[in-house]
Symmetry: C2
């Protein structure tokens, strides 16, 4: 893969940040005593780069701080220092389609249970977007009864998702939608939207605060009537248009939920309008914030 300057990018030569140092990936080492590994006690956040601009970085950092705070983990460097590190990684690696992942773990533990001093890594790697075919045809989601224990915390606990992953891939699903009976929560890594007539509906309680979701709402505020409320599985299964949003999936049309075809079984016009509005919103952000 060529970088922004036209040179070949080798994964092992990318520079990342770890506890104050700039290192290659194979130089970053976590102890087996880190409760991030031993007890799944860690948070993260993830943003994508458009050229050299980290999209909505302030929102991601705010959510990262919230997640850390909920787990009583102190982030060792402040907001602006993180942004400086991110800029340095972007300039060093010059990835044409890059991402930033910040990881904060509970740190090395003496007794294997009590957190120690947090370890922090910032990775700058290529990003994988879904295929253009998925956007053209729309995607399918597996259904699974589950509710994340601390939904507003972006923790590393993806046990359910990774356990189900081989099943959903085998059956051709893009991801899994979590629900409790008739109450819809979220997709393992995405927010859920649907159209009720011309009303654009999404939920906010009991789910992760999606950054892309909040930007989609901003982008669409003068286009559709927006309703924020709990979503029932029954109305979602019978909606004309369903889509999900995330940092990597952007605005992804959903045409099947479990065995149930949604609407016409093809991506809808209003979802396409949402995508256009979101793309315009991103372009404006880059104009204002771009390096």
């Amino acid at each position: 893969m060529p970088n922004l300057a036209g040179h070949v990018v080798l994964m092992e030569q990318l520079t990342h940040y770890h506890n104050g140092e700039f290192l290659r990936e194979n130089e970053i080492s976590y102890s087996v005593n880190d409760v991030g590994l031993l007890r799944g006690y860690a948070v993260f956040d993830f943003c994508r780069l458009q050229g050299s601009t980290p999209l909505f970085i302030d929102d991601h950092l705010e959510r990262f701080r919230h997640s850390a705070g909920e787990l009583s983990l102190e982030i060792p460097i402040d907001h602006n220092e993180i942004k400086n590190v991110v800029q340095r990684l972007i300039r060093t690696n010059e990835l044409p389609q890059g991402s930033i992942k910040m990881i904060l773990t509970g740190g090395d533990s003496e007794d294997g249970f009590t957190p120690g001093r947090p370890n922090m890594t910032i990775l700058n790697k290529p990003i994988n977007y879904p295929s253009s075919e998925a956007y053209q045809k729309g995607a399918a989601l597996m259904l699974h009864e589950f509710h994340r224990e601390f939904p507003d915390v972006k923790s590393t606990n993806y046990l359910t998702a990774l356990k189900l992953q081989s099943i959903w891939k085998e059956k051709g699903y893009l991801d899994v939608l979590y629900h409790s009976g008739d109450v819809v929560w979220e997709v393992s890594r995405s927010s859920v939207f649907f159209f009720d007539g011309d009303k654009l509906v999404t939920n906010k309680e009991g789910v992760l605060k999606g950054i892309t979701a909040s930007k989609v709402l901003e982008a669409c505020q003068n286009k559709f009537e927006i309703v924020i409320r709990p979503i029932s599985l029954n109305e979602l299964l019978n909606a004309e248009e369903v889509f999900i949003t995330s940092t990597t999936k952007l605005v992804m049309p959903i045409v099947r939920l479990g065995d149930q075809i949604i609407g016409s079984g093809r991506p809808g016009n209003r979802t396409a309008q949402v995508r256009t509005a979101y793309d315009k919103f991103v372009a404006q952000y880059i104009q204002t914030h771009g390096g």
Copy 2:
């Protein structure tokens, strides 16, 4: 701390096993791309040593294999090879009060989500038992509504427990009891028992299969009538005697649940009989299996 041969034990000089090698702890390194760290996708098991005998090691290995299988993780070495590694660690480190922890992670991931080749560590470290005061006075448990997502898997997901830990320590609780409304599940790292008259009651559905719990049941089978069934929170709060079992807590009397004093507020006679029966059972095991 002196070892079995009377020499001082330095933590950093202990030998452990990692992916086929015998290493010091600071030589064991996990990548930031291991889904054990990035996604909390890992299992473990933990057994204690009595002298140089790993107690009930075959049961622990069987549960470890079950946990790994539920997450579709392949253990890279077989049952007998693990036992040989454990014996070598015990002979090398000669810890007077030791433990064995086996950890199997989902391994390094190319996309940060799909598991790779599992990494396996076996740690041989000192063990910390609760204070003798806790056994004499009995312990208190915090109550919290929660049910682990895959209860029969000993995964590394202890997010809820570690998040609550600072609260329970501050309030003088030993640990946290999970329940869903009136249905009692388990303690974050222990099994729950109570006496209904002379009947010894414990649950088996929706909880981790406790090795100590199963040995307590074997040890007590001719002493008390044993009843295995769901436990209601109401009956537990009103029981005369409650205790919990685990590899490190052994048979721990519980004298308070939340604000509710249990029975007389002191450890009961029948719980003491259970402890005696369990200790005898362990002594017999060591006679049969001891090195």
